[in-house]
Symmetry: C2
Subunit: 341 residues, 2 copies
């Protein structure tokens, strides 16, 4: 790897001049500029960002931490963030936290050690995120939270309007004639899961339906457990709800697996709607009624806010909390039951 010094020697100028033509911050005569660019090409010179960052203490790199990139929602968020970063001349690196607070601590530490200019964070499900976030911010690195918001901390954030989105989905099920509607949530330690549950409550209440605690099923993010938990509730035909709403893609998939295990058909035997697209609805059956989050936009907006913070355009602005609307895609699984019609 050639250095700026070698370029300077070949072009027969000083390192300062090379630096100037690269940064463009100081005028350089055409002749020297040409000599320098030629030398750069000849040596296949790539400026050492490491050295540059050590000097400037800025890396133009953003980090994004997500629980698990194999959950389809997150790559979309990342793509949105990447696009926004690119537009403003930043790069984005993505890492997984495995939804583990400990691993999250590790990757955040990595990002700090790498001196990324800012961090986009989808917090892990466990405890301890607040301390981690506080430390990072104290060290001067801006953090924006996406999708999942930590509680008891004032921080820039971008996510869907969870309460309204769940309300919309459940209200739709109600409008299709269903009354006994169950909800399968992720861990309720997560604020956004709580909010989605709240939306469910709101929708029922507004429709004059009683909220039945036995129809609120809390799960986690482990596929087998979700399926087991859901299956247990569905087994008893007497108690079985007319419709089921799940608050995220992972639990949604668990619902489908549980229905499959129990030999239940949707929508004939039970209606179903979920947060997050589970598959390509055009070509696969059942076509699932879905509350679709603007994943790309969430990533994009969050990144814009983050870069604003970094570049001090928003130094004294108070916390920004963006709540984006979700979209309801009505499909087959929420059709009214035959015997209700």
């Amino acid at each position: 790897m050639s250095t700026i010094k070698e370029v300077a020697r070949l072009a027969n100028v000083s390192v300062g001049t090379v630096s100037h033509v690269i940064s463009g911050s100081v005028p350089v005569s055409d002749q020297l500029r040409r000599r320098v660019t030629e030398a750069i090409r000849a040596l296949d010179y790539h400026p050492n960002h490491i050295a540059r960052s050590l000097k400037t203490s800025r890396t133009r790199i953003l980090g994004i931490v997500v629980p698990d990139m194999t959950i389809p929602f997150f790559p979309q968020v990342i793509r949105g963030a990447e696009a926004a970063a690119r537009k403003r001349n930043y790069y984005l690196v993505a890492v997984n936290s495995d939804d583990s607070s400990n691993r999250q601590r590790e990757v955040l530490s990595l990002l700090r050690s790498q001196r990324v200019d800012g961090i986009l964070l989808v917090v892990a499900a466990g405890q301890g995120s607040i301390t981690q976030i506080t430390q990072i911010r104290q060290s001067g690195i801006p953090v924006v939270c996406l999708d999942r918001l930590p509680e008891n901390i004032s921080i820039d954030s971008v996510c869907v309007d969870d309460c309204a989105a769940a309300d919309m989905g459940v209200s739709h099920l109600i409008s299709m004639g269903h009354q006994r509607i169950a909800i399968l949530t992720g861990p309720l330690t997560l604020k956004n899961e709580q909010d989605r549950l709240q939306g469910y409550n709101n929708a029922l209440t507004r429709a004059g339906l009683a909220v039945d605690a036995t129809l609120i099923w809390e799960a986690n993010f482990h596929q087998e457990e979700i399926t087991r938990i859901c299956g247990e509730h569905l087994r008893d035909a007497q108690r079985r709800p007319a419709a089921l709403f799940s608050t995220n893609g992972v639990t949604g998939l668990g619902v489908l697996k549980a229905l499959h295990v129990c030999g239940l058909n949707t929508p004939d035997e039970i209606a179903f709607a979920t947060f997050d697209e589970l598959t390509i609805e055009e070509v696969f059956r059942p076509a699932i009624t879905t509350v679709v989050q603007p994943a790309y936009d969430i990533g994009h907006r969050a990144t814009d806010i983050l870069i604003n913070r970094i570049e001090r355009c928003m130094l004294d602005a108070s916390t920004v909390s963006i709540r984006l609307p979700a979209t309801l895609k009505i499909r087959e699984t929420s059709l009214a039951l035959a015997h209700v019609l």
Copy 2:
């Protein structure tokens, strides 16, 4: 952000000593060690990797470049790579190339400028990758190619045994009684698409079936175009094949969309098998017969080889080419046609 100097001052030792306790490479007395670790905690000190790397010219960071993280195959590869990297105390950052040679040049340049210790590359579909790879290797950064292999260059690589995998899928269709079998490929400029086509040819030939050029359909990676191309071929009922094999997940999805547009049912009107899982087969219909690649393993193996190269365990070893076997998941879409039975 505190520095090693501040830690040294607070612990009342020299910076050298602090460095020694952090690296563990040089013995330090228990007393000083304790003082130092306390100071580190007190100051919430995070070593500046930037400065360290400038000194050591090693970053312990690996980069992986994939065409598009939203294609489910790639996150799995990345996870495998991440796990392998973590085991050997490296970190992994992932970036997208958008399957564009130009963008690939940009991100590779970024990775070089960041001085990553090694690069995992799934080459973009267009031309120009070879020059890019050659330059990187000349600069001393090891590169391992995954999934897609560039031609005319000797380089470490890990991918599925494309020819055998396609052969397996097509042979299965033949064994189900199909004779007129079409293949929908991605761009044949890609070596692995060529190999998969070769596997198709081999399977037909071995079965004594003629290879019909009008049944070889070449597409690209653009969803709408794939659907259009496939739809055009399927429209004519006279010429329609009995079965269709697609060589990757993106074209596979295009097939399903085209079938949907044409109102064709699989397997009743046309059998179908594809490379790569398109959805969660347990719960969605149609359940598609699939050639499943060991995506996680591909990432894992490639990363191991890369780190071996980096750490010189394999300095003079010749090029390593790993070919992993695929698995055939036989499901509904490849059932024999009713009128054939």
